[in-house]
């Protein structure tokens, strides 16, 4: 099963991509992008009232939700967000303590995973390289990010090797045509956010990269 674990819809202030257009795009590009589902990780927010089950049924694509928050070690994706987490942290605060986020999200039943670790300022690698203590309790990092620049994803492998983190992928799409270009292949079925949290802890997954075939298809068009 292949899921894109990092995507932004128009609910994020820097995206203009409607969720339903992502789903139409994935339906249309099925041969090129074999994506079974996406995880919406909107910036600095969590809306507990949203229910995408009708769209899931209509398009046959799994839609799960997380969040992307900002910390003193860079940006972190949260999976398995609960009301207790939103009471514990102000998701709009761009100065959250990464260690508190990782530890508390784990205690409250979720997974907090640093995203685009190779980016300057907002990626984990730079903070480790600056001598900050390694975060305790990280189970996985986004080893493959579709929005990263040349060299940024390549920096991540050293951190994975050094600390034994799980490695996953996500498109970080803010535009419709970028959804699913990087994703994660799971050995197990992921039907719910609880399944996803369990799977991320289980390490039976790997990043998958569709960028080259998308480029090739565009070139051929």
């Amino acid at each position: 099963m292949i899921l894109d674990l990092h995507a932004h819809s128009e609910a994020s202030e820097d995206s203009r991509a409607p969720l339903e257009t992502y789903l139409k795009w994935l339906q249309r590009k099925r041969d090129l992008l074999p994506i079974d589902g996406i995880v919406l990780t909107e910036h600095r927010q969590w809306d507990p009232s949203l229910d995408y089950r009708p769209l899931e049924d209509q398009y046959g694509i799994r839609i799960l939700r997380g969040a992307e928050v900002e910390t003193d070690y860079g940006h972190i994706l949260l999976y398995g967000v609960t009301d207790a987490m939103t009471r514990r942290f102000d998701f709009a605060d761009v100065r959250l303590s990464a260690q508190e986020v990782v530890s508390e999200v784990a205690r409250l039943g979720g997974v907090a995973a640093p995203c685009h670790p190779g980016r300057p300022t907002i990626g984990l690698c730079e903070h480790y390289a600056a001598g900050k203590p390694p975060l305790d309790g990280v189970v996985a990092v986004e080893a493959l990010n579709g929005g990263s620049r040349r060299g940024e994803n390549e920096r991540v492998q050293a951190v994975i090797d050094a600390y034994g983190y799980g490695a996953f992928g996500g498109s970080d799409a803010h535009l419709v045509s970028l959804i699913g270009i990087c994703a994660t292949e799971f050995d197990d079925d992921v039907r719910s956010i609880d399944d996803l949290v369990a799977a991320l802890k289980g390490r039976r997954y790997r990043p998958v990269d569709f960028r080259e075939q998308v480029r090739a298809a565009r070139g051929a068009a």
Binding site: R44, T121, I122
Partner: protein
């Protein structure tokens, strides 16, 4: 850099009522960006203005007189969204009311940024909204120790 000051959110900083819209204004606005639509090319009985006409209106103040000092002096236009409402016709008297709609922060490759969204609501003489314009400005404050 300390937490952002959101006390200015909701503050109204401009309210301007403009002279009645003229057909010549509409023609000039459409011509300014080369709109080839004949409906805007010359005055006519059923004339309406292009949907983005409200963007040509200039109030007395672009932003609040007293901005929070911590925002820094470096800023730039970070884009605008416009929601179009009732048609604008020659003779309409438009009033634009500008408020601070939102203040938020984000971090990116180059460090911390603060965004302020100025919302201008334009209504006609009947009170119908003809446009709601959200103008974003990005402010780059002083570098923090972390980002120096």
């Amino acid at each position: 850099m300390s937490a952002i000051d959101r006390t200015i959110v909701g503050q109204e900083f401009d309210r301007t009522t403009f002279a009645p819209v003229t057909a010549e204004q509409i023609v000039a606005y459409a011509a300014s960006y080369g709109d080839p639509d004949p409906r805007y090319a010359a005055p006519r009985a059923d004339m309406i203005a292009p949907p983005t006409f409200a963007l040509s209106l200039r109030g007395k103040h672009f932003m609040p007189r007293h901005m929070p000092l911590h925002l820094g002096r470096n800023s730039f236009d970070a884009g605008k969204d416009i929601e179009v409402g009732a048609d604008v016709r020659p003779g309409d008297v438009l009033t634009a009311v500008s408020t601070v709609h939102d203040v938020y922060e984000k971090t990116g490759r180059s460090g911390s940024m603060t965004f302020i969204v100025f919302r201008t609501t334009v209504v006609n003489q009947s009170g119908a909204t003809v446009a709601t314009v959200d103008q974003k400005m990005m402010f780059r404050g002083e570098a923090t120790d972390e980002h120096r």
